[in-house]
Symmetry: C2
Subunit: 624 residues, 2 copies
């Protein structure tokens, strides 16, 4: 887990007249009266969880006021807190504004943990209806008076439990048949439909594993199948990164030879197995109690994991080999789970719009009666438009490039230690925070977004993106104008950290692609900006970007009637839903079929929208 601190410049003079002390860390910061505790926490480097983007709906940033005065609580916040059963002194940090010096206690749950490897898919609100069931039964021992086969003993006992008489099983399961029959033993038999898939000690219930294979991280969740309770969750970097930072490089690598493809599949497979091992250890269950697995990921990740052919993914029209869902036996992927366990890979929509997008739609968009735009930003950004008046989901994928992962930016870097990941303006000056509070060595995606928004706000760049030569921190560099973000004296590597005019152009292209993609989908569906009621921003980058910055630079359009929600790992949430619910799995199948993929290149309006969106929008002062 990484912790993050505000490093470098701390503007605590001027109007700052309230001292905010955060417990249990004891970190202090002086802020102006009226500042939210969320913002105060940010400035103190204690980034509080705020999955909803600080709009008071997720409750993730809940804190407790130990002393001091705050501006009065709004009615909605009081309602929300009491509905969740929070204590009277609790407040939402995003809503609570300081009126004096205060001391605040931050519960562990309100810290952002493991930010860059986010696993905090929100809680499931789904009725469990898992494919796998468990039956506890007593089996008579083999004896001269009862010489039924081991199979007959189990299937007869199951028949008297369930009424079903014909039970099948895989070879691996049948190999366990005789050994489980001890003297008059009681066992838990796990079944899926009319198939016996494994055995466990009595009293054990089957667990399942939901996995989200992302390009940069792999997140895994261990759930009880009967209740949906999450027993453990963890995430690790995708071990394919050394084989290529981006998808295409990895696909090209895999396409070169079968052994390459095998390597990419096995590094991911082994990582998932070791994640599962750790989760099981944490949850005190056996690996063989994992009786079902649900996997999501983008099209490329799924092709690489399953060793599907990728040649056709690398040339126009970039088609998937497989877009329907598929059930693979866990044994086929060498995972030592219950011998009859299946791995269900969710269906995908087509091209690069993959199973993770279907899962995200399932978890966050399906069933809404609001006109909703869903977006998952990465090298490829998937966008979905849900018009509740129609059955279909309109989706597309835009090549937004690696800018938001720190690529193609002079001083860009991944979200790792020392990356500037948050930039804000205090007293008309740029302030920044770095990951691990380390001396800055580069700027990661969310930082890039913030810098550009700040430069716009400070009029360092104009609406066309042109840098204003007259600003004291703008200078001529090797490749034209550049803005000095951090001078060499303050950096970890002793070199200036800059943002160049070329960087800004890259960012303009990337954000324009996303914005134009959204607008083109809206045009296709006849949806106007005023119609949009909800914008769902999913995924790790989507969770940590500053929504205001994203809107300020025009990456996300400003919809006057929309609520913007950062929902965390929605793909993971969808995977979890499909793990514990047959109807969710069926729903995912329907979503994948009902989704219409728009080829932006074929849309007449796209190029124009792209050109317009390359400009930055006029800066609008918010009142926060």
């Amino acid at each position: 887990m990484q912790s993050r601190n505000v490093a470098a410049i701390n503007h605590e003079s001027g109007n700052s007249d309230c001292l905010v002390t955060f417990q249990p860390t004891g970190r202090r910061v002086e802020v102006e009266t009226g500042t939210t505790l969320l913002e105060a926490g940010r400035r103190a480097g204690l980034l509080l969880s705020a999955a909803c983007g600080g709009v008071g709906v997720c409750g993730k940033c809940c804190v407790e006021i130990l002393s001091g005065d705050l501006f009065p609580t709004e009615h909605e916040e009081r309602e929300f807190l009491s509905s969740k059963g929070y204590p009277p002194r609790a407040r939402l940090a995003c809503e609570a504004r300081v009126a004096s010096s205060v001391v605040v206690s931050i519960p562990v749950g309100s810290f952002i943990v493991g930010q860059r490897l986010q696993v905090d898919a929100q809680d499931l609100s789904i009725e469990c209806d898992p494919l796998v069931e468990s039956h506890v039964m007593k089996l008579a021992a083999h004896s001269l008076g009862d010489c039924r086969s081991s199979y007959a003993r189990v299937s007869d006992a199951l028949a008297s439990c369930t009424g079903e008489i014909d039970w099948t099983m895989r070879l691996g399961v049948s190999r366990q048949l005789a050994p489980i029959i001890q003297d008059d033993c009681t066992v838990s038999v796990y079944t899926r439909g009319t198939e016996i898939i494994g055995f466990a000690s009595p009293g054990r219930t089957p667990v399942g594993l939901a996995v989200d294979v992302g390009c940069t991280k792999i997140a895994a969740y261990l759930l009880k199948l009967d209740t949906g309770n999450q027993l453990a969750a963890a995430a690790v970097p995708n071990p394919q990164i050394p084989y290529g930072e981006d998808l295409i490089t990895r696909l090209v690598y895999a396409d070169r030879s079968r052994s390459h493809a095998k390597t990419l599949a096995s590094v991911v497979g082994q990582t998932i197995e070791s994640l599962a091992k750790n989760l099981c250890q944490d949850a005190k269950v056996e690996l063989t109690e994992i009786a079902d697995v649900c996997v999501v990921g983008n099209t490329a990740m799924m092709h690489l994991l399953l060793q599907l052919p990728v040649t056709q993914l690398l040339r126009a029209p970039f088609v998937a080999a497989l877009d329907c869902g598929i059930d693979v036996s866990a044994g086929e992927l060498d995972w030592p789970f219950a011998p009859g366990a299946n791995v269900h890979v969710l269906p995908s929509i087509g091209g690069f719009v993959g199973a993770d997008h279907v899962a995200m739609i399932l978890a966050r968009i399906d069933g809404t009666n609001k006109t909703t735009i869903g977006i998952d930003i990465g090298t490829n950004t998937e966008i979905v438009l849900r018009n509740p008046k129609r059955q279909r989901f309109l989706t597309t994928s835009v090549p937004s490039g690696p800018v938001f992962e720190g690529g193609h930016i002079s001083d860009g870097m991944r979200a790792a230690s020392g990356a500037i990941d948050r930039v804000f303006i205090a007293d008309a000056e740029l302030c920044y925070a770095t990951i691990d509070a380390a001396d800055p060595v580069g700027i990661c995606g969310s930082g890039v977004l913030d810098v550009v928004a700040a430069l716009l706000r400070l009029d360092v760049i104009d609406l066309r993106g042109h840098m204003q030569r007259r600003h004291p921190r703008v200078r001529s560099g090797k490749c034209g104008l550049e803005y000095l973000v951090v001078p060499a004296a303050e950096t970890g590597h002793g070199r200036d950290i800059v943002l160049t005019q070329q960087d800004i152009t890259q960012i303009q292209l990337a954000k324009a692609a996303i914005c134009a993609g959204i607008e083109t989908l809206m045009d296709s569906e006849g949806i106007k900006p005023l119609d949009v009621e909800q914008v769902i921003v999913a995924g790790a980058f989507g969770s940590y970007l500053d929504l205001k910055s994203a809107i300020d630079i025009g990456m996300l359009p400003r919809f006057p009637n929309a609520q913007y929600l950062q929902v965390g790992n929605a793909a993971g949430a969808g995977a979890k839903m499909c793990l514990v619910s047959r109807s969710a799995r069926e729903r995912a199948r329907i979503i994948a079929k009902a989704a219409t993929r728009i080829e932006l290149k074929k849309c007449a309006g796209f190029d124009g929208a792209m050109a317009r969106a390359t400009r930055f929008p006029k800066f609008q002062h918010s009142n926060s």
Copy 2:
């Protein structure tokens, strides 16, 4: 393939007045007028195929008369031959009796080939209704105008062929999806139910493999699934023999460690794979065109092949882990057939009464309206009684020991080169034939049976099995009395070949167990000897034993109204039926369920029957 010649003593003097010349070998023999050509062929060492035991029903011993006179043809024989479309000069060697010197041509098909590794399961008379179907379809290439996934292309094409829209597949199949789509290609898609299981060039049709895993041999048959035509067949010795001659030794070996069990499984698995390769080569099909596999074998063989637990098979009450049929993916057994191919292992009845017995019942007994006894002789002999008035099949297994495989007999040996495998009396003297016409080195199972029958006939032994000291070839040996079968001067190893009093006792016990088993089943069902209409003798040993000898020594009871049929590898025939017919497979399931296994030890009458059957029956002169 082995050929067999009469070696040693050739009794061609005395009443022999007809010279029979066999073409194309040119072999000659003088026989008495009235001798059948089958018998003449036997004496000349040209063993003709006679699957029905020489009773004129199988047509396997058909020969062509080139010159000379025979006794007139019986009406039935003429009818039979003309119904089969044989030429006018054709005769059944088992029916045709010589009236003068004759010249006879033996078609290749009438030779016994590969006797000891018999694969000649008789032709199928079954309507083909295979699980696997083939669909030829044209697939549009990936193009900018059609960017459906490879899967969608195939499933859409299948949908327009079949009306079915939801197609699933295994991972291995999905890996072939993209590569098969070439420029506007036509392909054969193999399906099973709503599952896609493989692809082939257009015009190819799926083939299937039926396998009979016996304790001593493994037979495999390659069939076209749509027509049931047999493309090739072969058999090889079971490679587990070095790990134990008998089942129990192998089971004990496998039970000792997982690696032992793995070894026994993999030697058989590899042998089946290499058999399949050879058959495919012969039939000019690809291994990946094998789209379905059906396997039968006794309980122990199936447990070893599938690496099922065997501990419980080694102690009372000797139960199987698994007795239901099971479908295993070919990949799980490492067989490189069509990627979605299944291996169907037929259900078994219980204990050691295995899938091979079910297959034998299916192929030769199910559906008969005659009161039938079926028998498959080996170390364990399985017996089934079919009373057409009742639904059930009464089965049992008797431990007949290794006598019929040449075990536990002083000069006993397996049916290999130099084994005396046929003994007959000519001019009151013992004559014998050896495998490969080699100098004799021992006696194999069928030879043992014949020797005992001959000694009974010659009154060398009495009805209690006691050797008559006064006979010139009876002498005192190391372990009591013994009969000199072949003196050292004529043998291949320069030692006498004898049959001892102890050997005879062993044979008495073995044949008594079989006979008592039959009688006990009949008692259980209330069937009298006069009721029995049919006796089916299956399996390799069952095909090569001399039925008359078997009846003479009382191994098989003499049923006055019964037809005795040696049906060859009936288990293999059952496996072939299940390969090409869904209803046969369903029927096998029903047979396994409807079969009632009798525990002989629990039957009050068994011990008495055993004691009675230990005696030899009174010799009855036959008129042949």
